[in-house]
């Protein structure tokens, strides 16, 4: 599996992806041609290359999130949320009207979901829940991590302040607290580590006995440390013992207790035991009770760690090069995913209420995206022919995609259907070109005649009249 999981396994391509490859290829070419033409007319042929890349990666991630394996799930997380977030950010950043960029992005997502056949309610719902869990893990991890780092920093500062100092009270308290923490953490680690299981069978009884003795000793040390932490400061405060320890040779002992020679091993034992015990719990949790749900949860947790690393790297780079403000990146990473989830919820709602047809959802998305982009092209003052081409592209994409769907539904996956698809596509494209030519001529005539006949008001009246006449046909 060099280079990650394959997308073209049956579970990814789905029941309908591969057999209607010709129709999907034509739809994809239409979208690509429209995006390229728009880019060329906007003086930047690579205008939508970023959006295309992000749309592809996001849909690949969406597809992989529907898998059961841990590897594909994790890679799906890494692909989906960053790419989807980037896609939304890119739509606002492209140097054309937002509606145009949005339309092209929707069309590209439509084509990609048609290839991978993932725009159905169950898949989108599963992916949304899975991704939202990973996002929540990341946010919670961020909060918990911040608290832990702050706590660690505070402890470090405290120990650093005490270390090498001469205050008997501080030294005693610090030593006592560290003793309690070290013994407690060791007890926790010994309880969690599978020491008996890792011992040879012949020596397990002896090891169990030793462990019992060890844990009892650790309990005693912990209790002793607590007592030491409480009693010694009181003794220092209210008895002449305070003056006694302030003078040599006891002051030397105090200096030793507050030196790094004593504190550093205690700190190391505390941290090491804590990490070992927690690690064992995490590994045990991840390797037992293994089923599809736990794979998804584990995948989401791993992805959450990945997100945090990714955001940290981005923030680091931003901090070094300073091309975007730190708060913008931080809040962008935190808030833009919420927009992604909002859009996914809208898609799920559209699928539930039938606004997006169950099987032809990707085709509808592609067509509506291209029509939306055509409206955006008008706003961007792009040539009328491009607008007509955009509308026709949407219609042809819908036509060939739904034709391919019907073909698969009727004939199944095995028959060779390329000739039928190509034949239909040629006619669909031909009718589309005829339409562009006809409407282009009318538009040219409209401009030639002048505003009296070709004004928007008269055109609107004509258009409404035509619609009313043709509405009874209803497709």
């Amino acid at each position: 599996m060099i280079g990650g999981p394959r997308l073209d396994t049956p579970s990814a391509v789905g029941d309908e992806g591969r057999p209607r490859a010709t129709s999907l290829t034509i739809a994809a070419l239409i979208v690509a041609a429209f995006a390229l033409a728009t880019g060329v007319l906007s003086d930047d042929p690579k205008l939508f290359s970023g959006i295309a890349l992000l749309a592809g990666i996001a849909v690949a991630g969406l597809t992989l999130l529907d898998r059961d394996g841990l590897g594909p799930t994790v890679i799906g997380h890494f692909c989906f949320l960053p790419a989807a977030t980037g896609l939304i950010a890119s739509v606002g950043q492209v140097a054309v009207t937002p509606l145009l960029a949005l339309g092209v992005a929707i069309a590209m997502v439509g084509v990609a979901t048609a290839w991978t056949n993932v725009l159905d309610r169950e898949t989108v719902l599963t992916a949304t829940v899975s991704s939202a869990v990973s996002y929540l893990f990341a946010v919670v991890g961020l909060v918990v991590g911040t608290i832990v780092v702050a706590l660690a920093w505070f402890c470090w500062e405290l120990v650093s302040a005490v270390a090498g100092g001469t205050s008997p009270m501080a030294a005693m308290v610090c030593f006592g607290v560290l003793g309690v923490a070290a013994s407690g953490c060791l007890y926790f680690a010994v309880a969690q580590l599978p020491l008996v299981q890792l011992t040879a069978r012949s020596r397990r009884d002896a090891m169990a006995t030793r462990l019992k003795r060890g844990t009892r000793a650790l309990k005693l040390v912990a209790i002793g440390s607590v007592a030491f932490t409480v009693v010694v400061p009181l003794a220092l405060l209210f008895t002449p013992f305070g003056q006694l320890v302030a003078s040599p040779p006891f002051s030397l002992g105090i200096r030793v207790l507050s030196s790094w020679v004593v504190l550093a091993p205690l700190l190391a034992v505390t941290v090491g035991a804590l990490v070992a015990g927690s690690g064992v719990i995490v590994i045990r949790k991840f390797t037992t009770e293994f089923n599809a749900a736990s794979v998804r949860t584990v995948g989401a947790a791993i992805a959450a760690v990945g997100y945090l690393v990714l955001v940290a790297l981005f923030l680091l780079r931003t901090g070094i090069f300073g091309f975007v403000s730190l708060p913008a990146v931080f809040f962008g990473a935190l808030l833009l995913p919420l927009v992604v989830y909002l859009l996914l919820v809208l898609v799920i709602g559209a699928l539930i209420f039938g606004l997006l047809p169950a099987r032809a959802g990707p085709a509808a998305l592609t067509a509506s995206g291209l029509i939306c982009a055509s409206i955006g092209a008008v706003q961007a003052d792009l040539p009328a022919l491009l607008v007509f081409a955009g509308v026709v592209s949407g219609l042809v994409a819908w036509d060939v995609s739904t034709f391919g769907l019907g073909l698969t539904a009727e004939l199944g996956h095995r028959p060779e259907t390329r000739q039928l698809e190509l034949y239909h596509s040629v006619f669909a494209v031909g009718v589309g070109l005829l339409g562009i030519a006809a409407v282009g001529i009318v538009d040219a005539a409209r401009h030639a005649v002048g505003s009296a006949i070709g004004s928007p008001e008269t055109m609107a009246l004509a258009a409404i009249g035509v619609l009313l006449l043709l509405a009874p046909l209803r497709g």
């Binding site: 009727e410 055109m459 043709l470 497709g475």
Partner: protein, 443 residues
């Protein structure tokens, strides 16, 4: 006339959206663009479709009759003998509901110019019985795919697949009369295959003298050939409820396959002059202990009687897949009874899928009689599922246990031609001087 396909409702929405946006933006371009969806709508509406009478349909089924489990290729051809090009024709053949398609697809579609044909080729797995094909359905669409017309046409050629247990195993009278007795023994004697030489004894036939050896060494010696003797073989067919299973939908049951294998084997053995008996376990018969029993005998009549009983067993297994009220004790009793009624001098051939331990136990108990025993096991386990692979491993283990008890085991895996298996099982054909009878009964 066909029915209209509603593919362009979205075009109305698109037209309304563009018109609305055009009015909102005050853009004549968008208003003009709003007419484009209507153009496609009109294109779809104006498209018409009808299934022309000039379509010629023919079907070829090969082979028919076929034995159970045998792949049967079906070829359906639709020819456009008219003058018009059909932009979109889709064909679905009426595959019999009881049969499963093994390879290929009974569906297809093409653009058919005048004189062109579309051919569907697919493979079915034969199951016992006569299976009628439905008429193929033809669906034609207009150029814009706006209208759909569907019709059925009666095809020329084959419209039935016949599957018989004795397919490819012609009656004994067709096989000639060259009965020699073909199971070899270790003792040398008369025959056709060289075995050894011995010192010449007075009275030995001149045809058996090793003249070449005499020319070289000057000593007379006599050639011994492998001796072929006639024997009695009893087939025990496992038709109990554990054997009434299939390897997948539309495939023959293990009982059917066992009956087919037995039909071929007994045909071959009867043809070679052996006496053949038959016992069917698991079917309520009129023999001892409820066994379906056919006393060992030879001749064409014996074959007819055996095939009739095998058919009845396959019918009973198919009509009642869950099995009858007979319990495990009954079938064990039937297995034990086989040896008593067959006698100690016969050879036993157990034909079973070995999906439980009862046949293995029976095979082990027959070992006490010191007769030659063979297990011919039909493989109906599915390799594509975990449970199927598990069953396959268990079955292989049972085969190994049978082998350990001294029996000869033959694993008839799916896809291996039965004649090849039988050839190996009885080692007949390779020893014949001329191919008048094959072990698979003429295959």
């Amino acid at each position: 006339m066909g029915r209209r396909a509603t593919r362009w409702r979205g075009a109305i929405v698109a037209a309304l959206a563009l018109a609305g946006a055009g009015i909102w933006e005050g853009s004549g371009t968008l208003l003009l663009a709003a007419t484009l969806p209507l153009l496609h709508l009109a294109y779809g509406v104006l498209s018409t479709a009808a299934v022309p009478e000039a379509l010629v349909v023919s079907r070829a089924v090969d082979p028919t009759p076929a034995p159970p489990g045998h792949p049967v290729s079906v070829r359906l051809t639709v020819t456009n003998s008219g003058q018009q090009t059909l932009s979109d024709i889709r064909v679905v053949d009426g595959v019999p509901t009881d049969l499963a398609v093994l390879d290929g697809s009974p569906r297809g579609g093409k653009t058919l110019a005048a004189g062109e044909s579309v051919t569907l080729e697919y493979t079915l797995i034969a199951r016992r019985g006569e299976h009628d094909f439905d008429e193929p359905r033809l669906r034609v669409r207009g150029t814009g795919a706006g209208e759909v017309a569907t019709a059925t046409r009666h095809p020329e050629g084959d419209d039935r697949l016949v599957c018989q247990l004795d397919a490819k195993a012609p009656p004994l009278s067709d096989q000639g009369t060259d009965r020699v007795g073909q199971l070899t023994t270790d003792a040398p004697g008369d025959g056709f295959t060289f075995h050894s030489t011995r010192e010449y004894q007075r009275g030995d036939p001149a045809g058996r003298i090793d003249w070449r050896g005499y020319a070289k060494r000057g000593e007379l010696s006599t050639v011994n050939y492998e001796q072929w003797v006639s024997t009695t073989v009893v087939f025990i067919v496992d038709a109990r409820s554990p054997a009434r299973v299939t390897g997948g939908p539309g495939r023959p049951t293990a009982v059917e396959l066992s009956a087919y294998a037995t039909t071929h084997a007994l045909t071959s053995l009867l043809d070679s002059g052996h006496e053949v008996g038959l016992a069917i376990v698991g079917i309520d018969g009129d023999g001892p202990a409820g066994l379906t029993w056919l006393q060992p005998d030879d001749g064409p009549n014996q074959r007819s009687l055996a095939v009739e009983r095998l058919r009845a067993a396959a019918d009973a297994a198919e009509s009642n897949p869950a099995g009858g009220p007979e319990d495990e004790a009954d079938t064990q009793r039937q297995f034990r009874k086989v040896m008593k009624v067959a006698g100690p001098r016969c050879q036993l051939v157990l034909v079973s899928p070995l999906l439980d331990d009862a046949p293995v136990t029976a095979m082990a108990s027959w070992a006490a009689f010191d007769c030659k025993r063979t297990v011919l096991s039909t493989d109906v386990t599915a390799a594509s599922t975990v449970s199927g692979q598990y069953e396959h491993v268990r079955r292989r283990t049972r085969l190994a246990r049978c082998q350990a008890s001294g029996a000869r085991t033959i694993d008839w895996r799916r896809g291996t031609p039965l004649p090849l298996i039988l050839d190996y099982a009885f080692a007949v054909a390779a020893r014949r001087p001329s191919g008048s009878a094959q072990p698979g009964g003429g295959a």
